[in-house]
């Protein structure tokens, strides 16, 4: 892509964020229909979903799917087909290596000092021996990759994610993670290096990152869409569950699971709540 094109992409992205902000303000007025307070099942389902602006979120979700169909998916399919595997792995490694500053900063904010040391060492090794991050010798040497971000850090502080929010282009971003997303850019040296120059480098990075992630999930996302009764709420559940898993660093808390001891679905049981 030329600089000119990149700038127009940057302007479009910028525009999208402004639109999102405007839409957010509008959404304060346009909330989801609240359930009938006389129907306890509907009220509890509404609270469990924690998605007060669901109609607007669904609109943006469909908008993203449209953009995906006309733009991202074709490009990602092309990228996946034309770039050989070692090339794709190199791109992924460089992008991951560039994120090291954000990861190390958040390791520290979470008080995980030995992991911060590991991740800093990892950055050192992969930037030098790994030729500017193209290769990843560090994993084999005992410095595995970690994924941390400010949203997760807030999560470890016990801050809840807040009501669900689906932002155009960005995707699922409840308030905690949205704030984290912008907050993380302060830990990223590239924010300061390129802040008044042309947008070429940061935009290439963002766009490439999007294409690479999409290319890795071509089959998975198709499969989930095909096998979901409601794709929107499936994505919502997948997002929340995987975030909670990331925040817990993969350690599952058995005591936090829903209580199923008294759950009974006997077909002969009388109905406690009548259908509305």
């Amino acid at each position: 892509m030329t600089d000119h094109n990149m700038n127009s992409v940057a302007r479009t992205l910028n525009q999208s964020f402004k639109m999102a902000g405007l839409a957010l303000m509008l959404s304060l007025a346009a909330c989801a229909t609240r359930p009938d307070p006389a129907n306890p099942a509907a009220v509890q389902a509404y609270e469990e979903a924690n998605d007060p602006i669901e109609p607007l979120n669904r609109y943006f979700f469909e908008l993203n799917r449209f953009l995906d169909i006309i733009l991202l998916k074709p490009v990602a399919t092309w990228y996946d087909g034309i770039v050989p595997d070692p090339g794709k792995q190199g791109v992924r490694n460089v992008l991951d290596n560039l994120r090291s500053f954000v990861v190390v900063a958040n390791d520290g904010l979470q008080g995980q000092w030995s992991q911060a040391g590991s991740d800093a060492t990892r950055f050192g090794i992969n930037s030098t021996v790994g030729v500017l991050g193209i290769f990843d010798p560090a994993t084999g040497w005992g410095y595995p990759q970690h994924r941390e971000d400010l949203g997760q850090t807030f999560g470890t502080y016990g801050i809840p994610e807040g009501p669900y929010l689906f932002v155009p282009v960005l995707g699922p971003s409840p308030p905690r993670d949205l704030v984290g997303y912008f907050g993380d850019s302060f830990f990223d040296p590239m924010t300061y290096i390129f802040w008044d120059g042309p947008y070429t480098v940061p935009v290439t990075r963002t766009v490439l990152n999007g294409i690479d992630i999409r290319a890795r999930n071509l089959d998975t996302l198709d499969q989930i869409e095909r096998t979901s009764v409601d794709f929107y709420s499936t994505v919502r559940s997948l997002y929340r569950q995987s975030r909670n898993n990331e925040i817990a660093n993969g350690k599952s808390d058995v005591d936090n699971l829903p209580d199923i001891d008294d759950l009974n679905f006997d077909t002969n049981e009388p109905q406690a709540v009548s259908p509305q």
Partner: protein, 217 residues
């Protein structure tokens, strides 16, 4: 792994070497004291059977689905899963709707998981640990190790004892996602967005089952 990381001193080569040894020792140790051997044996048995069904190249998809359905009936607590997936709407359906719903959920689960599991043929699934949860439940951790060098996938099994005291599968967690919870989210959402109409869910479920039948083999 995490415990080893927190004690590792990254700037001392000796400590680093020791940790490497320690890590490999921990990996070969038997599971923790709270382990539940019966639950582990159950998961080893069922996962091997499921992988065998998925990996059998000689059978058609319909035959795979039939075999998977038999396995599911014998070793999963489908009524409990189906009830859980309805969330707060568990008391909503009439007896006729319930019967129809249970039938559809069974077919839906078979279609979805024969499709989703098709990636995992011929892989091994060693147990990495287990623990009892209350008197009637157990959690078993396992891990799919891929032969092609792909990163291992963590799979956690949530088992419940049925009336006879035998374990049955209630939910499965793959890389941090509980599958029954994922279904609950979309099932309740369909009902809520159709003004509490249970038939809307039945309609969507039968459409998904029909779509899966129509999809290329």
């Amino acid at each position: 792994m995490n415990a080893a990381l927190s004690t590792r001193n990254f700037f001392t080569p000796l400590a680093f070497a020791l940790t490497l040894i320690a890590t490999s020792v921990t990996a070969t140790l038997p599971a923790s004291a709270a382990a539940d051997p019966a639950a582990e044996a159950f998961v080893t048995d069922i996962s091997a059977k499921a992988i065998d069904i998925i990996s059998d190249k000689a059978t058609s998809r319909t035959e795979k689905e039939t075999a998977f359905g038999t396995l599911l009936d014998a070793h999963a607590d489908l009524p409990k899963i189906a009830g859980f997936a309805l969330g707060q709407y568990v008391r909503l359906p009439t007896p006729e709707q319930k019967a129809e719903y249970l039938k559809l959920v069974r077919n839906f689960v078979i279609k979805v998981y024969v499709t989703r599991l098709s990636d995992y043929h011929n892989e091994k699934l060693p147990i990495t640990g287990s623990q009892a949860k209350g008197a009637n439940q157990a959690i078993v951790d396992s891990q799919i190790n891929f032969t092609n060098g792909r990163e291992p996938v963590k799979v956690t099994w949530w088992l419940v004892k049925d009336k006879s005291g035998a374990y049955r599968i209630f939910d499965v967690n793959v890389v941090g996602i509980w599958l029954a919870q994922e279904q609950r989210s979309s099932f309740t959402s369909v009902i809520a967005n159709n003004g509490g109409d249970f038939d809307a869910l039945l309609k969507d479920l039968s459409k998904k089952v029909a779509d899966a039948d129509a999809a290329p083999q």
